[in-house]
Symmetry: C2
Subunit: 476 residues, 2 copies
């Protein structure tokens, strides 16, 4: 299809969308008292559907060879920027609403759960040492770099501020990378698995750094006992939950299949599993919920759901293949394909179920992330300049990790895959703000770093992976 026609259609589509958004103006926070129904709820739900449509329009990016997620992020930036248009200012009020935030959070949890389902625990173990190496280097380099470069660029602040800037550069936000790998169909590669594993350790290291830095700032000293306890909690949680899960998942699956062996129960059980792990990671171990969701996905295996009925289609395919007889080789070939499809359907079933609700939730997360981009941050030239340099430190510190893993791997894919920073960096900056060591300007610098690391990673990874595919095609 013609790209120009597509873009015209996209513009016309947006033209249809805008008046409907404008309709929402001023209704967002008031309820019409005469109507008997509050309007806030339906406004938020409607806005969610608008975000979903923006996400879908964003997938146009695929047409120019970019990961779809880049388009979703940029459409989110656009939707957020629409708030500057007179009459659309209410969008600013919507983007911070708890409901929207939580649906986005649910989206990234489902994304990491699905990523875990597609990963393999045995494979994960085999790359464990490399993942730890990548995580450690990727935390130490940006931290040290951030500390010294910010000291050089903004001299005269207390050294605690430099510590906090360094800390905000440490934690990789793995959602973006996981999605890019999925979009470009390289999730099963060793490189992708190393990045995912490193992101888990990364989160633990981030916890420790925050504890150390906060300890230094508030008390002037660090309690070794506390550090040991924080890391012990995180490691024990991960090890125990994964071991328990492997032991119990099949039994629990059988138990619940006795209550109801239908597809709905299968999905509910998978999600509950994901919920317990995410919740446990956050509440028991102080980790990010998405680390728990990823672990839940790693533990679950289609085998654990053997006791549930297969999807209806599988039954139909089996029935047809049983009835197809004859010596015709073409019939035998069709039968073979149908049997394969049935097997694939059955095996993929949990993943497919999660994918189906993921269709709704995951794009919301990326549009939401894009909406959080505050373009005004880029208007102060001094802040922008320092922000760009700090961003460069953040990039280099993670890119370098790609080269610590030894030969035979695509170093750039690992290094650039580790770049995205997200909410963890912002949370660190917020803690620093509360402790009085991070000023508004410093906060904006961190925001610029987060934005650029989020928006630049998808296109860069796109180029790296495309080049690798070409090399492999040329070699073959």
């Amino acid at each position: 299809m013609n790209l120009k026609r597509t873009l015209t259609a996209a513009a016309a589509g947006l033209g249809l969308l805008l008046p409907t958004i404008t309709l929402a103006a001023e209704h967002a926070t008031e309820a019409a008292p005469e109507s008997g129904h509050g309007n806030q709820a339906i406004t938020l739900i409607f806005f969610l559907f608008v975000m979903l449509m923006f996400a879908r329009i964003g997938t146009l990016m695929e047409r120019i060879g970019q990961p779809a997620v880049l388009g979703e992020l940029l459409m989110g930036v656009l939707l957020g920027a629409l708030a500057f248009i007179p009459g659309l200012g209410f969008i600013d009020g919507l983007k911070g609403q708890e409901f929207i935030t939580l649906v986005a959070e649910l989206g990234v949890i489902i994304l990491l759960f699905r990523t875990g389902l597609e990963s393999n625990l045995r494979e994960m173990k085999s790359i464990g040492v490399k993942a730890v190496l990548v995580a450690v280097v990727g935390v130490v380099l940006p931290f040290v770099g951030g500390y010294f470069v910010s000291k050089l660029l903004i001299p005269g602040l207390e050294s605690n501020t430099y510590l906090f800037i360094g800390a905000t550069l440490t934690a990789t936000s793995v959602g973006i990378t996981a999605r890019v790998f999925k979009d470009l169909k390289v999730l099963a590669t060793k490189e992708a698995q190393i990045v995912l594993g490193a992101a888990v350790f990364d989160d633990i290291l981030g916890l420790l750094i925050l504890a150390v830095v906060s300890g230094i700032v508030s008390g002037g000293h660090v309690s070794v006992g506390e550090i040991v306890w924080i890391s012990a909690k995180a490691f024990i949680f991960l090890i125990v939950s994964i071991a328990l899960g492997q032991l119990l998942a099949k039994r629990i699956g059988r138990l619940f299949s006795r209550i109801h062996s239908g597809i709905g129960m299968k999905m509910a059980l998978a999600l509950l599993f994901c919920g317990i792990y995410s919740y446990g990671a956050a509440v028991l171990a102080g980790l990010a919920p998405i680390v728990g969701a990823f672990a839940a996905g790693l533990v679950l295996d289609p085998l654990h759901f053997n006791d549930f009925v297969a999807p209806a289609l599988v039954g139909k395919l089996r029935n047809w293949t049983d009835r197809l007889k004859g010596a015709d080789p073409e019939i035998a070939e069709v039968k073979k394909e149908m049997i394969e499809e049935a097997r694939h359907e059955e095996r993929m079933h949990v993943e497919n179920l999660i994918e189906q609700i993921g269709w709704f939730f995951m794009p919301i997360f990326f549009v939401y992330t894009g909406m959080q981009v505050n373009l005004e941050t880029f208007l102060n030239p001094k802040v922008l300049g320092i922000g760009l340099i700090i961003t460069a430190v953040a990039f280099i510190g993670k890119i370098a990790t790609g080269w610590v893993v030894g030969r035979g791997l695509n170093h750039a894919m690992i290094g650039f895959g580790m770049i995205p920073r997200g909410e963890v960096g912002l949370i660190f900056a917020n803690v620093g703000k509360q402790l009085g060591v991070v000023s508004d300007e410093t906060f904006s610098i961190v925001v610029i770093m987060v934005i650029l690391s989020t928006l630049l990673t998808p296109p860069i990874l796109g180029v790296i992976i495309k080049r690798q595919n070409q090399q492999m095609a040329a070699a073959a």
Copy 2:
């Protein structure tokens, strides 16, 4: 499968669930400051997954021949009642959270949208007069009955209070009935369509009644102009939106299919359509959002999505059928079935997509509804007694509507289908409370009526529809 074994499994399943809920205690509203991640978000998301599992366990009801929705409601009541157990009191705090409420609202919007998709506009027009008749009778009888019976039972209040009690009995909450009809596979019957149509008019009449009663209470008089304006807005919205939809849906579908013709875009477009109608119904016409969602479903037809690519399976099935050749009659039969399946898949595709995300959202609505049941209301004998009598009035007033539609229809199915009252009645009672004419006791009476009409309708409809099926089987 053995029912006893199933129940044992269910009890064991619940036994596994409870400790995980208890874990959530006290974490619901506090964030762990040392963790770097707030815990409120993941607690709410986890609770949503717990609600989903409760819903699935509730589907056990199907084993004893009851609609699954009854089980979902009762499991919601159970989940709400768990708050009485020491240590689980935090559940009370969770059930009122905006996030949970909005996900439930999204669930009922998707339910009515899907119900509209399965209904047919032409069929709807053919039963229009009957639906209006059912709606009018079903509003007038409970209103008049409620007024006089409450005057008799609780003498000495100002007459405005009796007006308000009457008003709370008028509006049918169609979600429960739509779900029961769906569970029992009678959504396509004339009776079901009449109930759905009547519920739309019902909502308009409810608006008028609230305006009239509020006018009488606050100003002592009713503005005729206002009444005309309220009804005009509602009717004009429905007529214009349905007409516009029929005119434009196909073109809009074609436009958006040019941006992206994939399945994700198809779903996003259908949901956006639903969102615009629901939002318009609420904001422009003062109607319930679900009325708009139902209208959106009525307007949309699979034909409007012809320009999108078919699901991958359809392509596979077509490929296989093309390749299967030979004179064997069994092969011809298999081919025929496969072609039928492909056609069915393609036609049902929008409905299936909505169904897939409905799987997640719809059960949440019913568990949520069950959770709102306040069992303490039943503890005051006087309130309970009056509540039961008012409930009887509410039942009789709607049951009678089944007999105004003429011959050849299952009167009981229509009459009992109109019984459920929901949030609209409670909103009316709230307005009365704000105007100072509805006391706490009167409010509890309304709550009892809403609870009983919600919980008793599914089993009663189950019996009615089962008996009809038996009669038809006997006649055949």
